[in-house]
Symmetry: C2
Subunit: 108 residues, 2 copies
């Protein structure tokens, strides 16, 4: 069947797109890489590491959090952000499927 003109995108398509969208900005890639790299989970040091204001970093963190890619824990006056792995398999599965489904003889 596939997608027709009358129905919209599937939930899965929408979910994938929103996760990819969250990764579609260099600041958020850098933030994610930074958080993953730290042995102890770091909060506002990101502000010191990236060329963005505290307000902008906070916004990017909120977007990553909303996409389920990180989670934040309040500890005193600061917030500790960590990787949330739960969404990553979705991306891996999608990429795998694309690779596997691809027809090798296409456009030969």
């Amino acid at each position: 069947m596939g997608i027709t003109k009358t129905d919209s995108y599937t939930d899965q398509t929408l979910a994938l797109a929103s996760i990819f969208k969250a990764l579609g900005h260099p600041a958020r890639i850098a933030i994610l890489a930074y958080i993953a790299k730290q042995t102890a989970c770091i909060c506002g040091d990101i502000v010191a590491e990236l060329p963005l204001s505290q307000a902008s970093i906070s916004r990017h963190l909120a977007e990553l959090k909303e996409a389920g890619l990180i989670k934040g824990t309040i500890s005193g006056t600061s917030v500790c952000y960590c990787i949330d792995e739960t969404q990553l398999p979705l991306l891996e599965t999608f990429i795998h499927q694309i690779k596997q489904l691809q027809n090798q003889t296409c456009c030969a």
Copy 2:
């Protein structure tokens, strides 16, 4: 060292972000999935499959192409679009690294 306020993002970060950005729209996810699914590589049937105008589809295809995720081959008056796998390993590597670097004891 990491990223400081004075230098911008690394080339790798920018490259990753632009690929993810290209995937950050449901129409482009659907297009990619559709192209991958076809046994013969299909061109403008996508227009019939998605709830978007021909102009919009063409725009999305151009973005996927610019991100290196698909490639188009002209055959007569139509264009045959196919998956270009070359960028996918970058995404896989990034996701793997995030998973591996992540500190399990973070935010315990």
